[in-house]
């Protein structure tokens, strides 16, 4: 398979309400990614846009809407969409655009403007549920995830205190991120005492709603070697779909993440992920999801992720740094852009450019993961130098 590299990355600040339109945010991130690669639009052969539900921005066919700000004028362009998993799927799509041999250089842009939905983006989520069996109950994602969190906690005997440590860690890491929406350190007590949204989910267990964009530039090997002194290679990709009949799953374990991870590990030739992955950016819209996903990624045994967290293993200077960026819980969660932010973070970390967030010990390989649709899609990308 043809080798594919990431050679540039960029992102906007993540904020609660941006004055910029979605396409203006997309341009800021895309331009920054190109500038960081020392390339211009003329060097770009094709564009991949990732954006989650149209309902957030309030623009149907958001791919077409974002195309100008994403550099797609007079170029082949496609928009991908797998809900929350979009931000990691978009670079996977960029990868196969290039691995196929069709394109040499692809600009990948992810954007979400969630502040447009009024009064709150949760209102848009009701439309993803089945219109006859579920929507009549008025579900929102908070209580859907509360069901999953409760199941996860109960099966493994994990406490809310142990889970809150994830929120504490990620929000602290985000203090070092110049694009971060949240700028406050919190304690376990703060998390437990924050407003109860849907038991067992309190407000600080959840990432904020955000506006923002992120972008990366991907190249074929022969281009990467010419334009970049430090290309970061795509070593593995994986994606997987479980049943959308979520009453047919046991919610305590994300099987779809495991299968996506196995696909990526096989491609990367990884046999012992816990030893061979040096940085992890799992999807963390809720604090328990980081733990859930670490288990699905086979980076620890089922039910063990909470202990790794308590032991400090997942701290930035720990043995397995998890969400050194600050994650969605800290940096913010403009859905698709948040997933791609994780890929940007790996790019900066693996090149030693993460500044105050730099993980010590020259990490050589990182993994980013996202998850979405009706909680049953897993997307995984492994980058290495």
């Amino acid at each position: 398979m043809a080798k594919v590299a990431v050679v540039g990355a960029g992102m906007t600040r993540f904020v609660r309400r941006a004055q910029e339109t979605g396409r203006e945010l997309a341009w800021q991130a895309a331009r920054m990614a190109l500038d960081s690669a020392g390339l211009t639009l003329k060097d770009v052969d094709a564009v991949v846009i990732g954006s989650a539900p149209d309902a957030f921005d309030g623009v149907h066919m958001k791919g077409e809407y974002l195309s100008d700000g994403s550099g797609a004028w007079h170029k082949p362009c496609i928009r991908c969409f797998v809900g929350g998993a979009t931000g990691v799927f978009a670079p996977i799509q960029g990868w196969y655009h290039i691995a196929s041999g069709q394109f040499d250089t692809v600009l990948v842009v992810c954007e979400e403007k969630m502040s447009s939905t009024y009064p709150h983006p949760q209102g848009a989520f009701i439309t993803i549920f089945d219109h006859t069996t579920e929507r009549a109950l008025g579900p929102n994602l908070l209580w859907i995830f509360a069901l999953e969190m409760n199941r996860y906690m109960t099966v493994h005997g994990i406490t809310k205190e142990e889970i809150a440590l994830v929120a504490v860690k990620n929000k602290k890491n985000a203090l070092d991120h110049p694009c971060s929406q949240l700028q406050e350190e919190v304690t376990v007590e703060d998390v437990l005492n924050s407003e109860l949204l849907a038991w067992p989910v309190n407000r600080l267990d959840v990432s904020p709603a955000s506006d923002g964009a992120a972008a990366v530039v991907m190249c074929a090997e022969h281009v990467a070697k010419r334009v970049s002194e430090r290309p970061v290679w795509v070593e593995g990709v994986g994606w997987h779909l479980d049943t959308a009949y979520w009453t047919n799953r046991d919610l305590y374990y994300p099987r779809y993440v495991e299968y996506a991870a196995r696909m990526a590990y096989e491609m990367a030739g990884i046999r012992e992920p816990r030893k061979e992955i040096h940085i992890v950016e799992p999807y963390d819209p809720f604090d328990y999801k980081e733990l859930h996903h670490l288990e699905g990624l086979l980076l620890c045994k089922r039910g063990e992720a909470a202990r790794l967290t308590a032991d400090g293993v997942t701290q930035r200077d720990g043995d397995l740094p998890v969400c050194p960026s600050g994650g969605l819980l800290g940096v913010g969660n403009p859905i698709a852009a948040a997933g791609l932010m994780k890929v940007c973070e790996l790019f900066w970390q693996l090149r030693g450019e993460a500044g105050k967030r730099q993980v010590p010990g020259t990490p050589r390989r990182g993994l980013a993961q996202a998850w979405g649709d009706l909680m049953q899609v897993g997307t995984v990308i492994i980058l290495g130098v």
Partner: protein
């Protein structure tokens, strides 16, 4: 299989809506554009310093070369009818009591234009190439919306 259902109640149905409301920002370039409409009754254009492409409504960046645009300038809200149509039905397929005239107006002195209503003219008198100008609402009633322009009318 191609039977047409004329009464939806004859099959088991479920009625529902996709009830989502939005609050949009006009953006960085949009802010300049709509302030000029509201405060001065003018349209604003800008230009790409790299390739010279002209944008009306103004854009923050040039989509062709990604440069930040410059030279924001006021233009009179006058132009020519690039093309037009006469609408006889509304969005829900109901016949309009009065047909409505819509045109794409190329604004003089710019490479861009806007789509808007035509007024003070009979459909039979409109032609492509006709010179038109915007009729603005009185300043006190303007809100910074594209509907601060009531319609375009022929220049007499």
């Amino acid at each position: 299989m191609l039977e047409r259902i004329t009464n939806p109640e004859e099959v088991r149905t479920w009625s529902g809506a996709v009830p989502i409301e939005h609050v949009y920002t006009v953006g960085v370039a949009g802010e300049v554009f709509f302030r000029a409409i509201k405060d001065r009754g003018r349209l604003v254009a800008c230009v790409c310093p790299d390739c010279g492409t002209d944008y009306l409504p103004p854009r923050l960046y040039c989509e062709r070369c990604f440069a930040k645009t410059a030279d924001y300038r006021d233009l009179e809200a006058r132009g020519t009818v690039h093309t037009f149509t006469v609408a006889h039905f509304d969005l829900d397929g109901r016949r309009l009591a009065t047909p409505e005239l819509y045109a794409f107006v190329r604004i003089n002195g710019s490479g861009g234009g806007i789509v808007h209503r035509l007024g003070e003219v009979a459909a039979s008198d409109v032609y492509i190439g006709m010179e038109v100008e915007a009729v603005f609402l009185p300043p006190a009633r303007r809100t910074g919306s594209i509907l601060d322009i009531a319609y375009f009318k022929p220049v007499v």
